[in-house]
Symmetry: C2
Subunit: 95 residues, 2 copies
């Protein structure tokens, strides 16, 4: 199971949540995502790094572009993390 801290940290920023919503519609290049958000490419790249660290997105190099995509196995993982915090099963500590 993924570590909780990077995931919750990644979800804490509204721009990063917007990026994830965009990627739901399908993979996008960094430039395409940048065009849809009111932030610089440098800032966007920083957000992508955090999302990658949390394993929420995957990156694939294609030509001179980088294509980002939602990590498909992520929903079940994050739901499990959520249940670890809010659910009724016995508590487990996080790393």
């Amino acid at each position: 199971m993924s570590r909780a801290a990077p995931v919750f940290k990644a979800l804490a920023d509204p721009h990063r949540r917007e990026i994830l919503r965009l990627l739901r519609a399908g993979p996008r290049s960094a430039g395409e995502v940048a065009a849809a958000l009111p932030i610089s490419k440098a800032t966007l790249s920083h957000h992508f790094n955090l999302l990658k660290d949390a394993d929420l997105v995957r990156c694939e190099v294609r030509g001179q572009a980088r294509i980002y995509a939602l990590n498909t196995s992520v929903v079940e993982d994050v739901t499990a993390l959520l249940l670890d915090v809010l659910g009724r099963a016995p508590a487990r500590s996080e790393p």
Copy 2:
């Protein structure tokens, strides 16, 4: 539906997640929670405020103590927020 920002912000801090895990076992006074965490009562009070703003916990005054409890309707709400970001059906929790 609850606003997403305060909820995700509240979940971003490990101490706050630990507080929520503690409250899963049942309501606790602020002092009881403070005794279980390595932070000052002032800091804990600050965390409780954020958790209340996010509607993740409820507070009830009993005598001179304040009893905090998990907001029971919270799991479904937060799961909905998560789906708004990640967009797929969740794994069902145990009844």
